[in-house]
């Protein structure tokens, strides 16, 4: 049984714009899926459906076989979402407080919240900054904080919306390393990006969205030669196969 599945997912905004149309795809537990597409192709809208932030005009989303509308809190616990803009995800005045936000919503005991927060911060290497103002962190650190905030909910699936935008080389390495670590520890990863050269080597699958429709879904090596026609850039010059498409050494 797929851990996550969408059927005929369609979202039409009140102004008539059809952001996504008839999206059918499923993800197996432990898979690493890269979701690519040009600007405005509907990537963000699609993944916001996957944890119920947006309600589909038509179609359904299933988590472990159950429609997510049934128990939205459970669904959101299972599916963590790292937003495109890490900054706007911050709701705490200190790093630790921000990570505590999720577990506090789950009404865990104060001692438990404390333990989970410490663990999550340790996992992403931000323990030193626990009492700092999150807005003073660097871009890469802010994204790690967003990851810690999601880890504190102990999700099975983690959605990353453009995790590399605005990051410099070390920043990308930090975040990419973190994502790989999460994948190794058994998390299912869905990563939205149009910078294929940074991660594609690690992916099990490449899905491409074009003008709101799912147009390609398959092994990265098979799909990526066709990516360019959908406005997803393929690194120029040295195309030495998918294996070379990573920034990790």
């Amino acid at each position: 049984m797929p851990i996550l599945e969408t059927r005929n997912l369609t979202h039409i905004f009140p102004n008539g714009a059809a952001a996504i149309q008839d999206i059918n795809f499923s993800v197996a537990a432990g898979e690493f899926v890269v979701l690519a597409g040009a600007n405005g192709s509907g990537k963000t809208v699609l993944i916001r459906h996957l944890n119920g932030l947006l309600k589909p005009t038509k179609g359904h989303v299933f988590i472990e076989g159950a429609p997510i509308g049934k128990d939205i809190v459970q669904a959101r616990k299972k599916i963590g979402l790292i937003f495109q803009d890490a900054n706007s995800q911050i709701v705490g005045q200190t790093v630790a407080e921000d990570v505590a936000f999720g577990p506090e919503n789950l009404n865990l005991s104060p001692a438990e919240v404390k333990r989970i927060v410490q663990e999550a911060l340790e996992n992403v290497g931000l323990s030193r900054y626990a009492d700092q103002d999150p807005h003073l962190l660097s871009g890469g650190q802010q994204r790690k904080l967003a990851i810690a905030g999601i880890l504190a909910m102990q999700p099975k699936i983690i959605l990353f919306d453009e995790p590399f935008t605005g990051l410099d080389y070390p920043g990308v390495l930090q975040v990419l390393g973190e994502i790989m670590r999460l994948h190794k520890t058994g998390h299912t990863i869905i990563l939205v990006t149009h910078e294929l050269e940074k991660v594609l080597a690690h992916a099990d699958r490449l899905v491409i969205i074009h003008e709101g429709r799912l147009v390609e879904d398959g092994l990265p090596a098979e799909v990526f030669p066709r990516a360019e026609q959908y406005g997803v850039r393929i690194p120029l010059g040295k195309i030495e196969g998918v294996e070379s498409m990573t920034w990790l050494k």
């Binding site: 995800q89 705490g92 005045q93 505590a100 577990p103 789950l106």
Partner: protein, 252 residues
């Protein structure tokens, strides 16, 4: 604005910092009441001494606080002057300034001192209590009040604290970006204001929207984990002292 030390929190490890914040707030309210009721110079001096002592106990940066006081000093001076000129009464005994009355001056000074005491109360409270703790205390006090959604109020307070610096940063950045495109050459001040206000508003609304989504994605509910407070013996002692001070001033 971020540079103002005035109503800032200074993380320290002091008796005042460690005090149960619920009782701390109660103490500060008692002292404010005392300051409002105080009339004689002795009472004022005594309260100043107590609050000065509290500031030292909390190890707040006195020099930095005094520097920030300058802003308020102007306001206080204006208050004294206004009272001195507009309250009718006898002329001053030693040097007579036309229009200044003795009663007015005394009244103004009393008012100013009272304001100063209340400012000191705020300094101790905000200097020795983090916003998070403060929010938790407010929530704790509101919880038994019927019809008030304490958790929601606390969340709203929290978001205000979070959003404020963000909005301020956005504003600064937008101003800089517009200066880079020579907004200064525009003569029409209303147009200029509109160029900042309109995008700032729409940006803030969009930001608020995103935060709402982010909170929802992390399962926001109002049935949240509650903060735990611990009361120590010395907290009760300090509260008793404040109560005695307040009663002494009130029942004089």
């Amino acid at each position: 604005m971020a540079e103002m030390t005035f109503f800032h929190y200074f993380p320290r490890d002091s008796l005042i910092h460690r005090m149960d914040a619920r009782l701390k707030l109660l103490c500060m309210i008692l002292l404010s009441v005392a300051a409002t009721l105080a009339g004689t110079v002795t009472e004022f001096a005594f309260l100043t001494f107590v609050l000065g002592g509290a500031i030292c106990l909390a190890r707040l940066p006195v020099v930095a606080l005094l520097k920030d006081m300058r802003l308020f000093a102007l306001l206080i001076l204006l208050l004294v002057a206004a009272n001195a000129f507009f309250v009718p009464g006898r002329p001053l005994p030693y040097l007579s300034i036309p229009g200044v009355s003795q009663e007015g001056l005394v009244m103004g000074l009393r008012f100013a001192w009272r304001l100063l005491l209340i400012l000191m109360v705020c300094m101790v409270m905000t200097g020795a209590t983090s916003l998070l703790t403060f929010k938790n205390v407010v929530e704790w006090y509101l919880r038994p009040v019927p019809l008030v959604p304490a958790a929601r109020v606390a969340t709203m307070m929290n978001l205000t604290f979070v959003l404020f610096p963000v909005i301020f940063d956005t504003y600064a950045e937008m101003r800089a970006a517009q200066k880079a495109r020579c907004i200064e050459t525009r003569k029409n001040i209303i147009k200029r204001v509109m160029f900042t206000v309109a995008p700032l508003l729409s940006q803030t609304l969009r930001k608020a929207d995103e935060i709402a989504y982010a909170m929802e994605a992390r399962c926001y509910t109002e049935e949240r984990t509650r903060a735990v407070f611990r009361t120590k013996a010395q907290d009760w002692v300090l509260t008793a002292v404040c109560l005695v001070i307040c009663l002494a001033v009130a029942l004089r």
